[in-house]
């Protein structure tokens, strides 16, 4: 019985690894960042149940760490993949953490003494971490990592504070990248997604990064989160005031022939959820969602949407705003739109605008064939929804098409089953 490799430590990869390991199959779970958890770890709540995202994710992360059949390879890059079904040779590069993970206790003392501040990826750049860091408090593994690009020792040859103050003497500046070879029967790719942030029109039409109070949905997710940069208090970037009028704009960089024609499929419910969370945080706030088609297709989603309208009084306007203009004195945002249900042209002022930015998969180099829709190609979208055309390789989660957490979890289980069939017979 040969092992299986899972590429990507988000919820899909975690679930696939657990499902395989619990069958007694050895799994290599390869993650490029210092911790598993992925996008789901950044979310505050999940739709449609409003479960705390971290509360349902962290038990599984810990389970991964504890499971004897899972070898967790965090901060590692897949650099080569050869072979065929039943006999894949993977070359994985372990990036140097410059911290001896066997000694590091995750006490975080080093953070205090590190002088180098870096925008925090976990909070979408809205807060700062240090050059030696742990992505978030529930990280698995809970081990520090030195970000050499921002470390004063690596950049300027000074400091070495972390070494001085580390109680466990875990710092090791001499670590080198290390390549390891894995021999596996099957590979499951679950590399996840990123927001499409490089479209010029985000800046031009919607003023993202030009206007302080325009946010992406992932940024907003961090703001409403208690572990976020504002401690869960919804305040504006410009003046730290509580917004009274918030607009959510759907289908930004998705369903757009110029950038990305796909529907990102998560943003409708994500925005409904964020709108509800906003109402739960502050009662005297008007929330408006600009949508074109509200796609509430999953179990309990329509009811969730109905609750947003009826119970929380969230206003839904069928329109795609054409542009946003900032009032330079108040930093409020004037949204230009046509209410297509009454055919009225409206210029409405909001204190904060949240853009539901579309997604694209994180491409795992050229290891798997991609299809024209920019997602991973499937052997057959109906009958083989988790199989890549290459036998023995599976693509799950956001990589093969936009989908939400429940669907990703389902696919993880399906791919684990398929992979285990191969692993057992080799």
């Amino acid at each position: 019985m040969k092992p299986v490799a899972v590429i990507g430590g988000g919820i899909a990869g975690i679930q696939a690894a657990l499902d395989l390991a619990n069958q007694g199959i050895k799994v290599y779970l390869i993650e490029r960042t210092p911790s598993i958890g992925g996008r789901m770890a950044q979310l505050d709540k999940t739709f449609p149940t409003l479960d705390c995202s971290m509360c349902i994710l962290t038990p599984r992360m810990v389970e991964v760490a504890r499971n004897k059949n899972i070898e967790l390879l965090t901060y590692c890059d897949l650099i080569d993949l050869k072979g065929s079904v039943g006999n894949f040779k993977l070359k994985v590069r372990k990036k140097p953490r410059y911290v001896d993970v066997d000694k590091c206790t995750g006490c975080m003392v080093c953070f205090k003494y590190c002088p180098s501040k870096v925008p925090d990826e976990y909070n979408e750049g809205m807060s700062e971490r240090k050059a030696i860091y742990i992505p978030f408090p529930q990280s698995v593994p809970l081990k520090a990592t030195i970000d050499a690009e921002h470390c004063l020792w690596f950049q300027k040859g000074i400091c070495r504070n972390c070494e001085k103050f580390c109680p466990a003497k875990a710092i090791n500046y001499d670590q080198k990248p290390e390549d390891i070879e894995l021999d596996v029967a099957a590979v499951i790719f679950a590399t996840g997604y990123e927001l499409i942030m490089d479209a010029e029109f985000l800046r031009e039409q919607y003023g993202y990064s030009r206007y302080a109070n325009v946010y992406t949905n992932l940024e907003y997710e961090r703001i409403v989160s208690a572990t976020g940069p504002t401690g869960g208090e919804i305040i504006r970037r410009s003046d730290k005031a509580h917004p009274k009028r918030i607009a959510f704009i759907q289908c930004v960089c998705s369903r757009d022939a110029r950038i990305n024609p796909n529907c990102s499929s998560i943003c409708c419910m994500a925005s409904v959820k964020e709108a509800i969370l906003t109402k739960e945080h502050m009662h005297d706030v008007d929330v408006t969602v600009f949508y074109m088609d509200l796609r509430a297709f999953g179990k309990g989603y329509q009811e969730f949407y109905d609750r947003a309208k009826q119970e929380f009084g969230i206003r839904f306007v069928r329109s795609k705003p054409a542009k946003i203009v900032e009032d330079p004195s108040t930093k409020n945002l004037i949204v230009y739109y046509e209410d297509t249900q009454s055919s009225k042209f409206v210029k409405e002022e909001f204190d904060m605008v949240v853009l539901a930015v579309g997604v694209r998969p994180v491409k795992p180099d050229s290891f798997i064939p991609m299809s024209e829709d920019s997602f991973a190609q499937l052997k057959d979208p109906i009958m083989e929804p988790v199989s890549s055309p290459i036998p023995g390789i599976f693509v799950i989660g956001m990589l093969s098409g936009s989908k939400d957490i429940p669907d990703s979890v389902v696919q993880a289980g399906a791919a684990a089953m398929k992979a285990s069939l191969i692993a057992v017979s080799h």
């Binding site: 074109m292 542009k323 297509t340 042209f345």
Partner: protein, 378 residues
């Protein structure tokens, strides 16, 4: 959802989308009704425009709704909607095709159809050419006294004959245009059902409309005082001036028949004509160049009806200039050749005027006027 109080029922027909597709409105296949076009349209700031709603009416095939909508005429094709449309549905070209569709359907006996189809256009061209040539050859007095020793345009065709034909053509254009306008009024009146307005508003908005027609300030508002704006204005004023020159000359000839002595009046008319001619050449050549180079938003696509109008005014402007030069240089062959082409082109232009793109001269201000007076939801 309950119907909005302003919503009306229309008879739906497949002909509308089908014809619009032929006229360049292929974006109606892509539009998903997000309303970006309406919201980005600079005209939305000034008055009620309904770009998305018009596209919806076209998609549905609500013929009366499409024909009663003044929105296409508020559009000067700044291209903002094309640039921001998330579906690349080119709302600008949908508006353009809607204008053509309206011109066709406002025209009496749907004669406009002749000028929006390659085959019938060729046929109309041949018929008009045959009539024109026959006219020149057969009409008593014409061509019989051609003076080859001296460039004299009146030996090509007597001035009285020219004016007689001119009067007939003028009468034809006025009658047909009035009939077309009546159709347009009917459709728009129907669309704006129940909107009653008093005479003072009609007069007040008439002044705005005339000002807009004379200076086309909306085109300037949209993109600044661009060469495109100046060229459009040049063509317009070129027409006005050349028309004024012809009119002055004509009236002078009526008042003093048989005189060939030039007077201050005829000199003035000639100067007006020359200025008008230069403006026409400048404007039309500008548009020909940009439409050939396709280097502006409106110029990405040029359809046969656009070329018909544009090439005619270009030919008229250039041959007019050559004829005048020929007379001053006393070059008979150049004069007669260019004058012949000039007259034929003028003949095509006038005959097709109520149905071709030329008709926007009258439809655009009228539609703006109606829309201003009846301002509101339709």
């Amino acid at each position: 959802m309950a119907l909005m109080p302003t919503e009306k029922f229309y008879v739906l027909t497949e002909d509308v989308p089908r014809e619009l597709l032929k006229l360049g409105g292929d974006g109606i296949r892509k539009c998903y009704q997000c309303g970006t076009c309406t919201a980005i349209c600079p005209n939305s700031e000034i008055q009620t425009v309904r770009v998305r709603r018009l596209i919806k009416k076209i998609q549905l095939g609500a013929k009366d709704g499409v024909l009663g909508d003044p929105t296409p005429w508020t559009c000067y094709f700044c291209g903002d909607c094309n640039a921001t449309c998330p579906k690349d549905a080119t709302p600008g070209y949908i508006m353009d095709s809607a204008r053509k569709y309206q011109i066709i359907n406002y025209s009496i006996l749907k004669l406009g159809k002749l000028f929006y189809n390659k085959l019938s256009m060729a046929l109309a061209f041949i018929v008009m050419t045959a009539i024109g040539l026959l006219g020149i050859m057969v009409w008593p007095g014409s061509l019989s006294e051609l003076d080859l020793g001296r460039a004299d345009i009146y030996s090509f065709m007597g001035s009285e004959l020219i004016h007689e034909i001119g009067l007939w053509l003028l009468a034809y254009v006025i009658l047909v245009t009035l009939a077309n306008i009546f159709n347009m009024y009917r459709y728009m009146r129907k669309a704006y059902q129940g909107k009653n307005t008093n005479a003072s508003l009609w007069i007040k908005e008439l002044f705005y409309t005339i000002k807009e027609a004379l200076f086309q300030s909306r085109l300037r508002c949209q993109k600044g005082t661009s060469y495109r704006y100046l060229s459009h204005l040049s063509i317009f004023w070129g027409f006005i001036l050349t028309f004024a020159a012809t009119g002055t000359h004509f009236i002078w000839l009526m008042l003093y028949p048989g005189t060939s002595e030039p007077s201050y009046i005829t000199y003035a008319a000639r100067i007006l004509g020359i200025i008008g001619g230069i403006l026409l050449i400048y404007g039309s050549v500008y548009y020909v160049i940009h439409r050939l180079k396709k280097d502006d938003v409106y110029a990405e696509r040029t359809y046969l009806p656009d070329w018909w109008f544009l090439s005619l005014i270009t030919v008229i402007a250039i041959t007019g200039f050559l004829t005048t030069s020929g007379v001053y240089l006393n070059a008979p062959i150049l004069t007669y050749a260019s004058y012949g082409v000039h007259l034929m082109a003028v003949f095509y232009l006038i005959v097709s005027a109520p149905f071709s793109k030329f008709a926007h001269l009258i439809y655009r201000p009228l539609a703006l006027w109606f829309a201003k007076v009846w301002e509101g939801e339709i």
